[in-house]
């Protein structure tokens, strides 16, 4: 169904706005990628996108927004492809028919971080006891409170620990991961953070990792190709090519090899087992 996606992204896609390169205006292939801010902030896309753009002679416009916003952009057909880390929300999205393809791409993990003084005395403990202790002793815990992938995971973790605290010490920041980390640092509070953001920012913070291991801390990233029925302008073919690229060996190697400050940020999901980094 639908017209040729390449033809649909006619030159009107690219009004001659200032600062555009010649490559833009000659190429008819452009896709819009919505991702969560934390993914963008990891810097991974700055490595991946140029490779894809070069091999497909196209441009990928990255729009980094909150998880909820990204899903809504996909729903409205304003973007062609999503990369998010909210498994349950992604499944619901697929079920509603907004996407036509859903691929696991990579994963890393969440971790609980907290003040170096560790007032709750939870360093190195297991996840659930740690959360229980924080709750029972009434230590400050910051929640993103923004329905992001991280926030949803945090709520799920509290469920495992018997419900989230309801006192004054459980605080919602309503902001992205970066600002929330800074707030936790300033307020000497515990919080749940994704590994990417943590590794990027930890040097500027006095926070230390508290709980880093555990099956419930897995943070899977997946890509969704938006249903082309959403809008005539959706470049579904190129979006599919992009997802193909993400799970290709080339990209998977790049993902697996991506390091910040010497630390590995993501584990590729589709890498052939025999290839070691």
């Amino acid at each position: 169904c639908g017209p040729d996606p390449d033809a649909s992204s006619t030159p009107q896609e690219l009004p001659a706005a200032g600062g555009e390169t010649a490559a833009d205006s000659t190429s008819s292939s452009v896709i819009r990628l919505a991702s969560t801010t934390s993914t963008r902030d990891s810097g991974l896309f700055e490595v991946l996108l140029p490779v894809f753009e070069k091999s497909h002679n196209c441009r990928v416009y990255l729009i980094a927004v909150g998880t909820g916003s990204a899903l809504r952009l996909g729903e409205a057909g304003d973007v062609d492809v999503l990369v998010i880390h909210a498994p349950s929300a992604a499944e619901a999205f697929m079920k509603a028919g907004h996407g036509i393809r859903h691929e696991a791409v990579m994963h890393n993990s969440f971790l609980i971080v907290g003040p170096a003084a560790d007032p709750a005395d939870v360093v190195g403990s297991e996840l659930t006891p740690c959360l229980k202790k924080i709750k029972d002793q009434g230590h400050k815990f910051l929640s993103r409170g923004d329905d992001s992938g991280t926030h949803m995971r945090e709520l799920a973790l509290w469920e495992l620990a018997g419900g989230k605290p309801d006192g004054k010490e459980y605080l919602e920041t309503g902001q992205g991961m970066g600002p929330t980390l800074v707030m936790a640092d300033e307020m000497q509070a515990y919080t749940l953070v994704d590994q990417g953001t943590w590794l990027k920012q930890k040097e500027k913070l006095e926070l230390v990792p508290i709980v880093t291991e555990g099956p419930d801390l897995l943070n899977p990233y997946s890509a969704i190709v938006i249903n082309p029925k959403k809008s005539k302008a959706i470049n579904s073919k190129l979006a599919a090519a992009f997802v193909d690229f993400l799970i290709s060996d080339e990209a998977q190697k790049l993902i697996d090899g991506y390091k910040v400050n010497g630390q590995k940020l993501f584990h590729a999901d589709r890498l052939n087992a025999e290839i070691v980094e």
Binding site: G66, S69, G145, P179, M183, M187
Partner: protein, 232 residues
Amino acid sequence: MIRDGISEALQLLLQRDSSVIDAAIRSLWVSALAVSLASLIGIELGLLLSRKTFPGRRSMIVLSRVGMSVPTVLIGLLCFGMLSRRGPFGSLELLYTTWAIVIGEFFLALPIVTTLSHGAFQRLDPRVVETARTLGAGPVQRTITCLRETRLALGLAVLTAFSRCFTELGIAMMVGGNMPGRTRTLTTATALETSRGEFARGVAMSLILLLIALLLALAIAMFDRSEREKSS
């Protein structure tokens, strides 16, 4: 989306959604306080810059005009740096309180009030001060007379600063922290709903903000009209 927003806004208002009302009241008093303080100083400064000649006067005028272009993110960052635990005023423990927002918005409003009120005083007929002076008015009465004669322009200066603070996001986010019930304002709430993808709710919050602005503007207009009726 707009229709959804309006109906959502009505619902929030009718249900007296306590979190929304809480944020609205906070938005209002925080910006009102910040702008009042900034007006106290800014109008005085504008008057000074328009009346006295002293070294550095021209640079101060340029500075206050440039000051209008300080992005809220920068004010937020600087206030953060000052109020942070490790900053010079960290011991005051003001970070992530509404007072921090008041401080930040004060610096946002100050250059606006100063620049616009300086402009107003600059246009003021020089005979106003001369007449006040020759009739024996002291500095205070002279100032009051100048304010009375530039009422409209000063009112607009204050209104402009208030609008700026009332709709400001960067400072409230960065030094307030957008914590519900504590430092969440209407704009940070709007931003949150938007990032959640709850666009209609975001529109609803903004509409409530606008409603407050409308009530204020109507109050000003009514005051204006009664003043005008008196004087015609």
